[in-house]
Subunit: 344 residues, 2 copies
DNA sequence: CTGAAAGCGCTAACAA
DNA sequence: TTGTTAGCGCTTTCAG
């Protein structure tokens, strides 16, 4: 069960290791006859390249690293799936890391990926400011693209969605359903997703003259539990809003659950919206109206940007201006809101 | 931004590369004074080991590979999280692969991991028979432990739960709630989870004299969609069962949803149970009664077995008998069943 | 078109 | 205790 090396193939084929290398990596001119002999020898011995040796020599690993805030958030796993798929088409592997929503762990993960010589990194930074240093330091050494979230003080490629435009759709839809006041439940404003979504929410509610009480903006984290807590606070408070806008579906799931627990009718008494369109949004009671991000396109674009950056000659140093690509997501209307709801 | 090598550290510290290596990897005797000098030099230059070079030299990568059937199944992501955590404590990294429930992709992933010289592999085989060859071939070359699922015709370590015992608890509970007939919704019997769970279901329903109609065993895949389809079939059929036992929570989520859509009361008319206790089980309407697997212990045990196998001297070849470790999972009673349900 | 040889960065004998 | 040296398996000049 010893590992087959290029030397053994060379011996069997009666050529030098250089020739074997040339045949197997498809570089350099080799006569057809020799090619056949080498291939046959490799086949017979069950030769497989040693990616480690190749990486040491080439300082390329055909591996891309990806760092997400939390692998247990279905939105991110879905993104990961799409990225992996897109990379597969280019014959690259994905090295996945979970930052556990902790900038320190995230920084360590990024350093590890650099040390491991990945060819590029896709990261969805977990913190809007604290992630900055590590992300920028990494981007100075390798092609890097930020996905979905964006961290301030960095200049790297980014691909995601136009959160402000999405929120405009959400607010218009709620208004159409009769909302006159609204609450926002998000995570602490330490990542761009929440920031942008909140900005969009705030902006459009002003324009539509939808009231937002000062204590109707609740910030915690992206979790079901936080959604439940926040909703309880809103409902127990003096004057519950007509609508609760959530920064992601996990929160919204918690919110609708809490509403049920409090005997508050959704969407009759209060409308609820989510963001991301994870699979479970559809399964909630009532099913969640939410914002669908074009994950596949986002992933494809990220991989494309990475490939482009890698192809770039000059290496790091003076780089071309970075690209910011935002898709406009679409509203998915379901039972947790009133306007245009499908007939029951 | 060039990479700092051991040679540069050596030069700066005025010692040989061997000494630097000894200091940094903590092997071999070095005088305290030299140690300090080397460490300072390394620090100042911002030295980081090159894991690739180290791996080539040592044929150890401090990386463990993990292959799961589907990264979008919350149960597996949770398992992954726990494994990663356990590995972190040993200073190892995790290389995660998604087999997309396809034995062929799975085989390729396993081969890739072997080629990449991971130190060991944790795999939850996606198919009960077709995964066999690749898993065994891999296990012949590296420490390997199967997690949760087990594939026939292999002899490797395994850690998971006692599905039969779990199903006994489930059936007893349903009986207590008054069930006289039951249906089983699972995936095609091509993986051990379903097989064992079905066996346990069948066995205990006989003992309890719970009727199982021939056409009340529905096999598809582990997905919400299949749960919905299967439930529709059961409810539209002539004589719906008192209870629907599902092989995992995703299926159960689909089943309860379909029941609601059909206006069938859960648990009043039909009781429903899941398996895995994913986070969303709690959020369903009604919340799912399900089986909780001790994921953290499973993960810890798998990592321990791997470490033990790696420590094994003789290398592969004549191996000690493999270990099969099964935990007895616990029933989590919620609103989708009748007996012992918490007061509303 | 092919082979010889150098070397990617690191570690483990073996010497001193 | 420290240095010298020989590779791990592969690719790539540079000669031939």
């Amino acid at each position: 069960m010893q590992r087959v090396t290029i030397a053994q193939v060379a011996e069997r084929a009666g050529v030098s290791t250089a020739t074997v290398s040339r045949v197997l990596s498809g570089r350099g001119p080799v006569s057809a006859a020799v090619q056949r002999r080498v291939r046959r020898a490799a086949e017979e011995l069950g030769y497989q390249v040693n990616p480690i040796a190749r990486a040491l020599r080439n300082s390329r690993t055909d591996t891309v690293g990806m760092v997400v805030p939390s692998i247990s958030n279905p939105f991110f796993t879905s993104l990961v799936e799409n990225v992996e798929h897109a990379l597969g088409r280019e014959g690259k592997e994905l090295f996945l890391c979970d930052a556990r929503s902790d900038p320190e762990i995230e920084a360590r993960r990024l350093a590890t990926l650099v040390a491991r010589n990945v060819d590029g990194i896709i990261v969805s930074p977990c913190h809007g400011t604290e992630s900055g240093a590590a992300v920028q330091a990494t981007a100075d050494r390798l092609p890097l693209v930020q996905l979905d979230r964006f961290v301030g003080g960095t200049s790297t490629d980014w691909v995601g969605v136009d959160d402000v435009a999405a929120m405009r759709q959400v607010m218009d839809h709620l208004r159409e359903g009769g909302a006159r006041s609204a609450a926002f439940v998000g995570s602490l404003l330490t990542n761009s997703s929440t920031e942008q979504r909140f900005a969009g929410f705030r902006h459009r509610s002003r324009e539509l003259q939808i009231t937002v009480d000062a204590d109707h903006v609740l910030l915690g984290d992206y979790s079901v539990a936080w959604g439940e807590t926040a909703a309880a606070r809103l409902l127990d408070g003096g004057d519950p809003p007509d609508a609760i806008v959530c920064a992601d579906d996990l929160i919204a799931l918690g919110v609708t659950r809490a509403c049920r627990a409090h005997g508050v009718d959704v969407p009759g008494t209060v409308q609820v919206t989510g963001y991301d369109n994870i699979e479970f949004a559809r399964l909630a009671e009532p099913p969640l109206t939410t914002v669908d991000q074009p994950r596949e396109r986002i992933a494809a674009e990220a991989v494309r940007l990475l490939a482009a950056a890698a192809a770039e000659p000059g290496g790091r140093g003076e780089r071309p201006p970075s690209a910011h690509i935002a898709f406009v997501p679409s509203l998915v209307v379901r039972g947790s809101t009133r306007a245009g709801a499908p007939a029951p």
